[in-house]
């Protein structure tokens, strides 16, 4: 009690940099607005919600850009627990744009069936808000809060189709495992706090480095914390929830989960590795190495066996996660830290564009075929050439074939591996190379359906693509091509992304 009083006496209200918080604030305002309006406007006017949501997202982009252009490089508040640096800005931009595309994907989709649109938008915005916070959090507590902030709405989104048992199942699985994982992570965090006597990442980093060697507790703490985020990025063997949830959840939600929330997981992971346990590399590097190799391989081989397109994409995104992890497995080594970070960010950007494009196509095609079977794509090219070509582009990009976005992302990943010039790096590069070939097995399979197979029950009625989807396709396809042909564009963002206070360089 005494101590508490003393602390209370010392307490001074922190100064808040509202400019730095502007994006979050805009978003928060927007979601409240949606929540309120939803109660008052009637069914026919629900489209307004869609408009507001997308407007909010675009509006939130404005402060992000302004912050990026403002001369103050790094803004820290709450004595370093919440930081706005280039890294976080880039990631916030990614989240917002991804969110915007997801809105575009959703807008026509959620019309179907009488579900509560208002809640949908509200949850979406909330989860995005959590992600923005995650990008800036530099403290165990704020990271934890941000994590839950983005997860809990996601659980509900996954189960958003109340009356669809699949959707329920998706939600419950995601929820139970998610909570379990975060519980484990929390345990790790508590231990971390115990050994470092602080929840501030930079201090943890300093403490851990102070004593050259580690006790069992360190290892336990690091591993459990990493596990928590390995779950978010659905790294094997913590991926089990992903396929089921992706398949069961509404497709736009799947898109959201597979892109945005995965990205959020990586953001947290990177921040932790770079600022909290940079010099505990001996602990986490092998761990990440194994995770990455397993993730790529298992994701691929399981994807080869899928018949449902969404489920296949789920596994594909798992294995893509493995590729993102690749450079982190050597990030601790001298000189490769910066490249690794660049690689992760770039991969996130490119992957977001491409994968959202895939989902846009899936939604468009599902409008007609009403089926998730890969075979339902037979002969797509013959009656919907544009969709066919675009899908081919996206899949090829995922497979990492020049000159499409995917290749530069993979290239930079390989580059940072080999730059480390360590045996582990080369070995992982080899695994990655083999996997990138195996991956084409299932991507090519879909292409084959699209181009070379007959149309199932020869139903070649034209596909009507709603305008929002068209816009989404334009954005994603454009991004995919530009990143591929002029990789410099993407790399600029990835390159200026630097984590303030990161010890690894």
């Amino acid at each position: 009690m005494q101590t508490l009083n003393i602390f209370a006496a010392q307490w001074v209200a922190p100064t808040i940099d509202y400019f730095g918080l502007a994006p979050e604030l805009v978003l928060a305002g927007g979601l409240c607005l949606v929540l309120m309006l939803d109660l008052f406007i009637d069914e026919r006017k629900k489209w307004m919600l869609t408009a507001i949501t997308s407007f909010t997202l675009l509006a939130a982009m404005v402060p992000v850009l302004m912050l990026a252009l403002s001369e103050t490089e790094v803004r820290t508040m709450f004595d370093g627990r919440y930081v706005v640096d280039n890294f976080s800005l880039v990631m916030k931009a990614v989240f917002l744009l991804a969110g915007y595309v997801v809105v575009l994907l959703s807008s026509s989709h959620i019309e179907e069936g009488e579900y509560w649109r208002g809640e949908y938008w509200f949850l979406l915005l909330t989860s995005l808000l959590g992600m923005l916070m995650m990008a800036s959090s530099r403290d165990l507590v704020s990271i934890f809060v941000a994590l839950e902030f983005l997860s809990i709405p996601a659980y509900m989104l996954a189960a958003w189709r109340k009356r669809d048992p699949k959707s329920n199942e998706a939600g419950v699985k995601y929820f139970l495992l998610g909570v379990f994982a975060s519980a484990v992570m929390l345990y790790g965090m508590s231990l971390m706090y115990g050994v470092a006597n602080s929840t501030l990442l930079t201090e943890i980093g300093a403490k851990i480095t102070a004593t050259g060697e580690f006790s069992a507790v360190h290892a336990l703490a690091v591993v459990f914390v990493v596990v928590g985020f390995a779950f978010k990025v659905s790294a094997v063997p913590f991926h089990t929830w992903a396929p089921d949830t992706y398949e069961g959840a509404p497709t736009p939600v799947t898109a959201f989960l597979s892109v945005a929330s995965k990205a959020a997981g990586f953001v947290a992971l990177v921040v932790l590795l770079y600022t909290a346990f940079p010099l505990a590399q001996d602990i986490w590097q092998p761990f990440i190495w194994v995770l990455s190799a397993l993730t790529m391989t298992i994701g691929n081989v399981l994807a080869l066996k899928q018949h449902n397109i969404v489920r296949m994409i789920a596994y594909s995104s798992i294995s893509q996660g493995g590729f993102v992890l690749m450079p982190l497995a050597v990030a601790g080594l001298a000189g490769s830290g910066t490249t690794a970070l660049r690689s992760v960010v770039l991969y996130m950007i490119v992957y977001a564009a491409t994968n959202l494009g895939v989902f846009a196509i899936i939604l468009a095609v599902a409008n007609k075929t009403r089926s998730g079977e890969i075979s339902s794509y037979g002969g797509l090219f013959s009656y919907a050439p544009t969709l066919g070509v675009l899908m081919t582009l996206f899949l090829a990009s995922l497979a990492g074939i020049p000159p499409l976005g995917g290749w530069i992302a993979k290239f930079v990943a390989f580059q940072s591996l080999i730059q480390s010039q360590s045996t582990w790096g080369y070995a992982l590069a080899f695994v990655g190379a083999v996997n990138s070939v195996v991956a084409f097995g299932y991507y090519g399979n879909v292409m084959r359906e699209i181009w070379m197979r007959p149309v199932p029950d020869s139903d070649t009625t034209l596909i009507s693509v709603p305008g929002s989807l068209k816009l989404a396709l334009v954005i994603t396809a454009g991004a995919t091509l530009v990143f591929g042909i002029l990789p410099g564009v993407g790399l600029q963002f990835a390159d200026l992304a630097e984590i303030a206070g990161a010890i690894i360089r």
């Binding site: 101590t3 508490l4 602390f7 165990l140 507590v141 934890f144 809060v145 839950e148 809990i152 659980y155 509900m156 189960a159 109340k162 009356r163 048992p165 699949k166 329920n168 199942e169 998706a170 939600g171 419950v172 699985k173 929820f175 139970l176 909570v179 379990f180 519980a183 484990v184 929390l186 345990y187 965090m189 508590s190 231990l191 706090y193 115990g194 006597n197 602080s198 929840t199 396929p243 089921d244 398949e247 069961g248 066996k305 899928q306 489920r311």
Partner: protein, 99 residues
């Protein structure tokens, strides 16, 4: 102070919780086991906070309690959904999607 006893208690709780999550088929029971884990975490945090004489642990614990409440709310909601559709809350019934 007897730090280690508290840590030991927390570890035991943690293990029980994990056991519960893995062994139980009932969704509600799983939720409760998770609550156990969270509480073991809280104990840890508080113990360390007392030992180190910093308030971060307390803050953290408070946040965890709050968030846990939210989680339970959402969780029970989901369980209800399932129960409404499937008339069961045994999670093993929920294996429609696999492979």
């Amino acid at each position: 102070m007897f730090v280690n006893q508290f840590l030991f208690l927390a570890a035991v709780l943690f293990c029980i919780g994990v056991y519960g999550v893995i062994a139980r088929k009932n969704a509600v029971l799983m939720l409760m086991s998770i609550e156990l884990i969270l509480n073991s975490v809280n104990i840890n945090l508080l113990t360390f906070a007392m030992r180190n004489g910093s308030t971060d642990g307390h803050t953290f614990a408070l946040y965890i309690i709050a968030v846990a409440a939210a989680e339970v709310g959402v969780g029970l909601g989901l369980v209800l959904l399932v129960y409404r559709n499937k008339k069961t809350i045994s999670v093993d019934e929920l294996s429609e999607m696999r492979g």
